[in-house]
């Protein structure tokens, strides 16, 4: 399988091939190439609805993760017994929300989506940021992942700051 990429919105012009390529590099760095995952790009209306249903927050956000394995120890690669369990889960990218943020910060959309996806994969692997300690642990992981990404691709990505993301794992 691999990465199932879906674009369900028409607000933001998306480069699917570029997003997939970046996600593949991230999967390699995380060490989860064997695991399937879904990346679904949605607009503000849809991500707000999902946020409301699953987190009782009636507002759009940048990313929502739905891990296949719940309660993983942060960063632990799941131990898989059967083929169908090579699944990490799904990440919904609020691309319209991210685009609006990029306009404010003059950031490149696809670079921002890569950073947000890295954040989403951290959540699929058990990382949280509900406490200060958890946030620090997660940000450390993200910094490592993105520095490796930058080394491999020549990019200059930086982790999300506390202000820029509202998502918590549902």
């Amino acid at each position: 399988m691999g990465v199932v990429l879906r674009n369900l919105q028409n607000v933001v012009p998306l480069r699917r091939a570029k997003l997939r390529k970046d996600v593949e590099v991230l999967r390699h760095i995380f060490g989860v190439q064997r695991f399937d995952m879904g990346i679904i790009c949605v607009d503000n209306r849809r991500i707000q609805r999902i946020n409301h249903v699953y987190r009782k927050k009636n507002q759009p956000t940048d990313v929502l993760s739905f891990p296949f394995y719940e309660d993983l120890r942060p960063g632990k690669i799941p131990c898989v017994l059967q083929r169908e369990e090579y699944n990490l889960g799904d990440i919904f990218l609020g691309v319209e929300y991210v685009m609006q943020q990029c306009k404010e910060t003059s950031q490149d959309l696809h670079e921002a989506l890569t950073v947000v996806t890295a954040h989403g994969i951290c959540h699929l692997l058990g990382y949280r940021h509900e406490t200060e300690e958890e946030w620090n642990e997660m940000q450390q992981k993200e910094s490592y992942i993105l520095s490796e990404f930058n080394r491999l691709t020549g990019s200059h990505l930086e982790p999300l700051t506390k202000r820029s993301t509202q998502d918590m794992r549902p």
């Binding site: 990429l5 879906r6 674009n7 369900l8 919105q9 028409n10 012009p13 699917r16 593949e24």
Partner: protein
């Protein structure tokens, strides 16, 4: 022995058959009238008319029904004129077939679709909601398969994409849809301008295609204006055209059926 037995059986069967008919035809003795089952030919309930065609009571009822139906359909017609596509697409119509044409830096992009059989069946999922009021009826949307032809100047073959609107994986309107708005099914090089599909040209089927290649093909189309916005507008255009053709068909049918 066997032959005579079978012949006897056949004779007995025929006798009982005719006996039943005899008793049936006799049953009218009490009522005073004999029903005519076998003697009279079936009389068709015709209306007198001078046009020379057959006109029955059924036709009259049908015509009345159609008059009401046409009135109702025109009442709910969302677009009296066809909606315009953004992006400078030129529309050509030939009955139920539509072509959208656009030129982009010397390249010609043609989208062809047909509104026949373009409305997916709407399955009733919840039996409790079977008796819906007209306001609750799901909207009828036409999602036709469409073909995208990209022709570069000086190149004899066009790159042809057979595209469709996948049915939602989670059903109609319930839950979160997780299919792409539209998808590519097949890709092939075809001689430019030819109506007939060249079967000997290699046809790439996307069912088991490398997903990175698929994404590049989708990006290729998006760069030529065939993206999710286009797909949404196409369904609006197709829905309006289908409805228009349906009403026209009802009107033609009414004309055909009516007594002049």
């Amino acid at each position: 022995m066997l032959k005579s037995v079978s012949r006897a059986v056949q004779l007995a069967a025929r006798l009982s058959f005719s006996r039943s008919f005899w008793s049936l035809s006799s049953s009218g003795a009490a009522s005073g009238s004999r029903p005519r089952l076998l003697t009279a030919t079936r009389a068709l309930p015709t209306l007198s008319c001078g046009c020379g065609s057959l006109h029955t009571e059924g036709d009259k009822a049908f015509a009345e029904f159609l008059t009401d139906e046409i009135k109702e359909e025109k009442k709910i017609q969302k677009n009296k004129s066809l909606p315009k596509m953004s992006g400078g697409w030129e529309l050509e119509l030939n009955g139920t077939e539509a072509k959208l044409i656009r030129s982009l830096s010397g390249e010609k992009v043609t989208i062809t679709f047909n509104v026949n059989n373009s409305i997916p069946p709407q399955l009733e999922e919840d039996p409790e909601h079977a008796q819906k009021s007209p306001e609750d009826e799901p909207e009828i949307v036409s999602t036709p398969n469409f073909v995208v032809e990209v022709t570069k100047p000086g190149v004899k073959s066009s790159l042809v994409f057979d595209c469709h609107f996948p049915e939602d994986e989670t059903g109609h309107g319930e839950g979160e849809e997780e299919s792409d708005i539209f998808a590519i099914r097949e890709v092939s090089f075809q001689p430019e301008g030819d109506v007939e599909w060249k079967e000997t040209s290699y046809t790439l089927n996307t069912d088991s295609l490398d997903w990175a290649l698929y994404d590049h093909l989708m990006d290729f189309l998006a760069d030529r204006g065939v993206d999710n916005t286009f797909a949404d507008e196409l369904t609006e255009l197709s829905t309006a055209l289908e409805h228009q053709e349906y009403i026209k068909f009802l009107e033609d049918l009414s004309t055909f059926v009516k007594c002049k």
